[in-house]
Amino acid sequence: MRDEELIQSILQGDGEKYAVIVDRYQTRLYRTAYYYAGNVEDARDLTQEILIKAYNSLAKFKHGSAFSTWLYRIAVNHCIDWSRKKRPRCEEATCLLNLSDGEAGPEERFLRQERAAEVHRAVGCLPERYSTVLMLYYFEEWTPQEIAFILAISKRTVETRLSRGRKMLREKIPLKQAGGVCHDLFSQSG
């Protein structure tokens, strides 16, 4: 059943169908909340709040638009509001959980985790307008068009912020270690 059909059913009184929506989106929302919160407890609370808020606002969902981007608009706004109030600007190392994959040795796993934490921190320390588009595009794989809808800005602005954000990241993490050779990560045009 498509999202929009589920929403229709819920609005017609079948509130239990919302469980399917929760199943479908909770992990993605949880991950996004984690990018803002930096810890699993707050990420969990944020995800719950977002899903409850979305349920209570379902009557305002406009049919014809995608439910996923509508939900994400609520999510991103909620997380941004939350981080403005709660989260100290640019936190020190966010602890990334279980980045391990079965085949990697402990040393490799540790290095990977370190690098991930560094990248994560670098993105999180950018001004919010840039970190949000970078997160949505590179981590959550939304298209610029979808990001434009989520953030209620133009597609052109999304492209500009992505370019500037990448340039700023290049200044923060200029090098990467790859196979023993150091080279410019964000090489060439910024």
Partner: protein, 167 residues
Amino acid sequence: MTCFRSRDRWHSYVVKSLSRMEMREMETHLERCAECRARVAAIRETSGFLAVARVPLIAPPMIKDQVMAAIDMGKYRAKAGFPRFGQGLQHLGFSLLAAGIILLMVNLTPVGRNLRSGEVADLNVQFGKEIALPFTHLSQTLSVAAEKFGLMGRGQDEMGSWVPGKE
């Protein structure tokens, strides 16, 4: 940076979220522009590099349990299955007003009981004036009430240009 297209939709191009015509047009441009090729390569490289920072988290089951326990399952059921509160009030309002008018008429009838026939015509004119005022008020009240209840009914359906999360 010299190419006028260097600030174009390259992030959209990389994830193929353009029309077929736009994609073809940009591909043609890429074939002869080293600067834009470098830009596309940089976006792809960044994508590969940032992939390490993706968080492989899975939502704990308690999220679903708590959300489903917190929401009001009957929230939309009430609206879909029964007459809306505003509509009910609207009917109640009209009924009360109609009852008021009838009561007013009944109260006015004894006034002329002891009058001689000649005085009745004069009084009718006088009452006509006095009665005209309350009726004007009544009709105003009626239209205000109708408007108010009418609006209540509409407001529930209206979606307007609401921005989620920014209430």
